[in-house]
Each structure stands twice: as structure tokens, then as C-alpha cells.
Symmetry: C2
Subunit: 382 residues, 2 copies
């Protein structure tokens, strides 16, 4: 299948690109290196050196024999979008091309505005490009479990049957998020769902939880193929940050009480979820929604696991409860469903000690490069 | 109270500005004449000649002695927004400054993109300006009943208590709209509700139905004070269009079966609803939602009323069911609540024969100016 990956330079975009080529798909990626620019502007570094897309594609071709076509440009620009879609005529589009960090979206008016405009514009351009160039193509959109927030009832998989005053209606599950970034993902869903109904687009919305890990069957073949790894407060996801903190001898920074519970998954499972979605597309006129995670943990659970695994390999790990910079419930009901991807054949990689030790051993190699002032800056939400 | 009206040149913006000055408020308006530009670009005319804001403000001051401060500029531009807010330090902001036409938003990629960017950018800028310059100011946002769509259960006033598997949660009432324009209003709600929770903003969201009429206590003092009156398919609302069609001898164009039911209100009631909201503000950290309409009618009901009133004054009026260019249910359950504004003291002006005859008599004066090719162009949604 011809698969176009938007945001192909990203933490998930690049590993997805390589993975799909090994499954026989013809893959093109597009990216404008926005994430790299924002990291430079905010003065945060990746733990590792990450070659650019052309270099990574050349390295991957050398190692695997598989080709990834690279398009560098801004998906906010219609001319670029039209050129890529017209040339490649994708059968599936994987849309990762968004400013992905909640804390970044809360830094200032400018970062909020960039997040809002970038995420909505790219999503709109994808919709218009599919309509114009490949109306039967399947859009696989990365949403987030954060769109649901933490309601006091079970989180169903995308939809909610409501009985009210003796009548019934099936609604898109009501969404209410905890950051501007997550709110833009709700808006993406609003937009996609409208055009699914109006134009009969076929869309899969993957409501993903926080992802951890670096190693996949493809990334582990060469360090130059690893995705970038942020350990700072702005762009780093929680488990990746805790692993770096453990290695650096910095106390694990648990925000507030640490009862915040979310669904997590291994980067390997992200690739499989996305591949399963591409290979089993939604129907025309269908918005198919999967909750994409494999296990739920509280932040306290994660900290305890990192501490235990760290201790196993001789690291001394402290846990510190710091003032919560975010506005969020620190103890709450959380019971999200997640059967759709299992039904498609997902075989999860759970968060084991082996997984944590493998991550720590990788980080230890780069220990001298960890910049301690990036670990904790107390970026406030409110 | 110092009240800033964004979109002060509009069909509702200008009458609201005059009305609030008569109630003792200090009023400033801001607008960039976007609506006028879009009408020129789409080659549709107002029925009447409408002076620009400076001219109208001068005329109103001459007639009433009341002053309206005029700021002409683009609320997408932060520098303009900051200047206006910094100078005026409003205590209430009435936000009408959006591309307001559903059919316009469905014309093309360009009109969709303009609608999306304009509506979201202005709303975001309003939020950031309030945060920076007047954090206690009350934002009165014009939403639309169209955000709810036509669910098979009662439409409550903004919120829905859901019982699910033995647990309960109160959600923002799930929204699902029928045009891109309406979808941008859903996104506005997402955005406002996020910042209400996060920053404690005070917001009233007025979920307004289609408005009809021209005459208010202020506009009727001089024809130069009347709001602009669109009768075309793109910018005209349904009852205003039917009145012009009746006068022009054009059959009333009912889309499809005509069972589409909505909540309507007289322009006089819009002004009172907005004034009541301003004078009885939401609390800090509150998103207060009112469903703003006074009566529900199907399109068939409206056509029958226009026909009857037309006949009374000697017009021959035919009703024609034309192919529906929109994607919408033509027969559906519709039972929306609307008690909030009545509780605040709203005294409705219902759609009587007198109201329709008054509108028709006005339109008859301009009969020679009606451009028949603008009445029906069959702008398709899909």
C-alpha cells in the first residue's frame, strides 16, 4: 500500500516509516523539522544525535534495502501539500504532523497560537488534499487519550450511548482536555468527524496514551535510526523522563500526589497499532476510533517501577513529590476501554523490568550528555 | 459598563452597539469589514445601502446624543487587539467577530480555510487579550444552536448529566454540527471552556438560533442606522430570504421536505439577550450557556407564515420544494430547552403577522433593487 506519513521526522513518525517498509508498504514521509526548531528555541536537547531525514533514509536503505521517500516542507502550506499528494497519491495517510507537547502549548500566547494554528491547519489541509487527490484514501489520525480528560464514568472507545428522558442517542464521546495541545486534538476530531459525515471520508482516530521506549525491530539496527529522545519537561513524556532522571541521579519528579492515571504503551505497540489500522482500513463515511494503550498506571506506579528497575542495576533512585505545575485531578476515577486494537490482532509489549533496564542501559551510555538544568524547570500551566 | 463589541459592523453588532448606549453603557466597536469584503467577492449585495462605521456612529450621535467609539482593524492581528484592549480596558466583551455564514464556509477550500482561521484566531486573541489586559472582564460569545445539531434526545441548556454503568458525570452537551462554520463555533466553545477551567475566565456562550428582522428601537430611527440585510443564499438567513422572495415574486425556496426545525428569534430579542447577559455577568471560572431563541419552527412553518402574511398585503406567494443543497435531516426530533434567558427577564417578541408585514413593507420600498439572480444559486454543500 502507498502510505504517506506526515510528521515523518518525529519520535513516532520515523520508526513508523521504517516499520511499514519492512511490511511491504511503499512509504513517503513529509516533515518541516518543526519539532527540532521548537526544541532549539526552547533550548532543550535530544539525548542522542539524530541525523536528518535524508540521512536516515539513506542509512535505512543501506541497512535494510528499503526506500523511504523524503519530502521536506511545511504542511501548513497548501502548495506543498498539494504537490506531495498529487505526486504520491497515497492510499493511506498517517497524520502525526502536529505540535505534540502539552507543556509547550501552555508556555505563552505565542506557543499557544503556534500550536492552535499548526495543528488545525495541517489537519484541514490533509482533509482538503484527500478530497481533491485521493478521496478513497484512509486517514489514520493520531489523537490522544487526553482528549477525554478524566470523567467520572467509564471512557468508552470513542462513542457514548446516552439515555435521557426516555430517548436515546449515540454521541461522539464528550471530550474535555487538560491542556491547549490536547484541546487542539479535540478540535481535530471535530473537524474530521464533520467531513467524514459530509464527504464520506474514511478516518481512523487513534486515541493514544503516552508512549515510552526507543527500541523497535528497526530502530535497534543502528543508533542512527533511533528516534529523538527528549528528557526535558516540555517535550519529554513522563516515563522517558523518569528513566533519564534515574540515570542522572536526579530525584524522579512526581507532580503533586501522583495519583494521575493514564493509559500507556510501548513504542513497539504504537507501530503495530498504526500498521494494523492501515492494513484494516475504516470504511468510507466511517470515523473509527480506537483507544490506543495497553496498560494504565498512575504516576506513582511509574515512579515505583523506575526506582525498582534502577535499583536492580545499582542506581540509587529517589522519588520527590513536587508542586504540580498543571491543573489536573491528582486522584480520580479512570476506567477506559481498549478492545478495538486487540480485536484487530495487537499483541502488547507490557512495561516489564527488562524494558526499563534496556532503556536505562541505553541512557547510561549517554550519561555525560545529560544536561541537568533541562531535567526540571518548573514550567507552570496557569 | 465599558462594553467592547467585536464585529461591530455586523447585522447584529451595530444594532447591539446602539442599543447598549441607550442603556447607559460606554460602547466601543471593532471590525475590519470582513463581511462586506466577502459579499463583494461573492458578488452579493445588501438590499439597503449601509454607511460605514464612522458614518453610522456620527449619525447615531447626531440623532441620540450617544457616542460609539469606532476601531477599524483586523482582530486576527494581535497588535490591533492589544491596542484596543489596552486603551479601552473593557468590562464586558461581546464577541460577534466571526465569519457567520454556513454556506460560505462550504463553498471551497479557500472559504473553509478563511472561516476556520478567522474564527479560531479571533477567539484565541480575545482570550489572550482578556488574560493580559482585563482578566475579570466578562466575555459574551455568540455561539449557535447549530452546534448541537439534531440529536434524538432533548437539547439541554449547554450541559448534559449522563448516567452510565451506575456512575454519573456532567458533560458539556455533546456537539455535532451541520456545516464547517458551525463546527468552528464548536471549536470556539472547546477553546473557551478550556481557558475558563484553566484561567478562571468568565464566559457566557449564547447558543443563538437564526435571527430575523431589521427593526429595533434604535435602528428604526433612521434608515441609515439599519443593519445590512442579505437576501442571498450565502449570507441571508432563511426568514429574511423568504420575505424578499415573497416581495420579488420568487417562489419561496424550501430545501427538501422542509421539516428542518430550528429555534428562531427576532433581532430585538437578540439585543435584549445580549444586554441581559452583559448586565448579569457569569462568575469567574464559569462558562454559562444559554440557548438563545424564543420559538421553534420548521422551514415549512416559516414558508406558510410568509405566504399568509404576503397574501394579506396582496402578494401572490408560491412555495417551491427544491433539492436540498445541504446534508441535513429533513424530519427529526427537536426539543431544545431555553429557560435561562427568560429567567433573566427576557420578554420575547414572537413572530406575528405584524412583524412579517412590517418587514415586507420595508422590502417593498427596495423592490427595484432586488437582484433576482442572487436569490437562488443552488450552492451545494457536498
Amino acid at each position: 500500500m502507498r502510505v504517506l506519513i506526515l510528521g515523518g521526522d518525529g519520535y513516532l513518525g520515523w520508526p513508523t516509516a521504517m516499520h511499514l517498509t519492512t511490511q511491504g508498504h511503499e512509504v513517503a514521509v513529509a516533515d518541516n523539522y518543526l519539532r527540532r526548531r521548537l526544541c532549539r528555541e526552547e533550548k532543550v536537547d535530544f539525548l542522542n544525535d539524530v541525523p536528518d531525514l535524508d540521512e536516515r533514509a539513506a542509512l535505512w536503505q543501506l541497512i535494510s534495502g528499503h526506500r523511504v521517500a523524503v519530502h521536506v516542507g511545511d504542511l501548513n502550506e497548501w502548495d506543498f501539500v498539494a504537490e506531495v499528494f498529487d505526486k504520491f497519491r497515497p492510499q493511506a495517510i498517517i497524520h502525526y504532523a502536529e505540535q505534540p507537547a502539552a507543556p509547550y502549548s501552555m508556555l505563552s500566547r505565542k506557543t499557544a497560537t503556534l500550536t492552535l494554528h499548526n495543528n488545525l491547519s495541517v489537519t484541514a489541509n490533509v482533509i482538503f488534499a484527500v478530497r481533491e487527490f485521493c478521496p478513497d484514501a484512509h486517514i489514520v489520525k493520531l489523537g490522544t487519550m487526553g482528549e477525554y480528560g478524566t470523567p467520572n464514568i467509564d471512557i468508552e472507545e470513542g462513542w457514548l450511548d446516552v439515555e435521557h428522558k426516555g430517548r436515546r442517542h449515540k454521541f461522539l464521546y464528550p471530550r474535555q482536555a487538560g491542556s491547549l495541545y490536547h484541546t487542539t486534538k479535540i478540535m481535530d476530531t471535530d473537524l474530521l468527524w464533520f467531513y467524514v459525515r459530509t464527504w464520506g471520508l474514511r478516518v481512523t482516530d487513534l486515541m493514544q496514551g503516552p508512549v515510552y521506549g526507543l527500541f523497535t525491530d528497526e530502530t535497534e539496527k543502528d543508533e542512527g535510526l533511533l528516534p529523538f529522545f527528549n528528557y526535558d519537561e516540555i517535550f519529554g513524556t513522563v516515563l522517558n523522563r523518569f528513566v533519564v532522571q534515574a540515570v542522572a541521579g536526579h530525584p524522579l519528579t512526581v507532580y503533586g500526589k501522583g495519583g494521575q492515571t493514564r493509559g500507556y504503551l510501548n513504542i513497539k505497540d504504537t507501530l503495530n497499532c498504526v500498521r494494523l489500522s492501515v492494513e484494516n482500513p475504516a470504511k468510507n463515511g466511517e470515523l473509527r476510533i480506537f483507544n490506543q494503550f495497553t496498560e494504565t498506571f498512575s504516576v506513582n506506579d511509574l515512579a515505583a517501577k523506575v526506582k525498582d528497575s534502577g535499583n536492580k542495576i545499582g542506581l540509587k533512585v529517589d522519588i520527590q513529590h513536587v508542586e504540580n505545575p498543571r491543573l489536573e485531578a491528582e486522584a480520580h476515577y479512570y476506567n477506559p476501554c481498549h478492545t478495538g486494537l486487540l480485536d484487530l490482532g495487537l499483541s502488547p509489549h507490557y512495561l516489564s523490568e527488562d524494558v526499563l533496564v534496556e532503556m536505562m542501559e541505553y541512557v547510561i551510555k549517554y550519561k555525560q550528555q545529560i544536561k541537568h538544568d533541562q531535567i526540571y524547570r518548573n514550567v507552570k500551566w496557569v
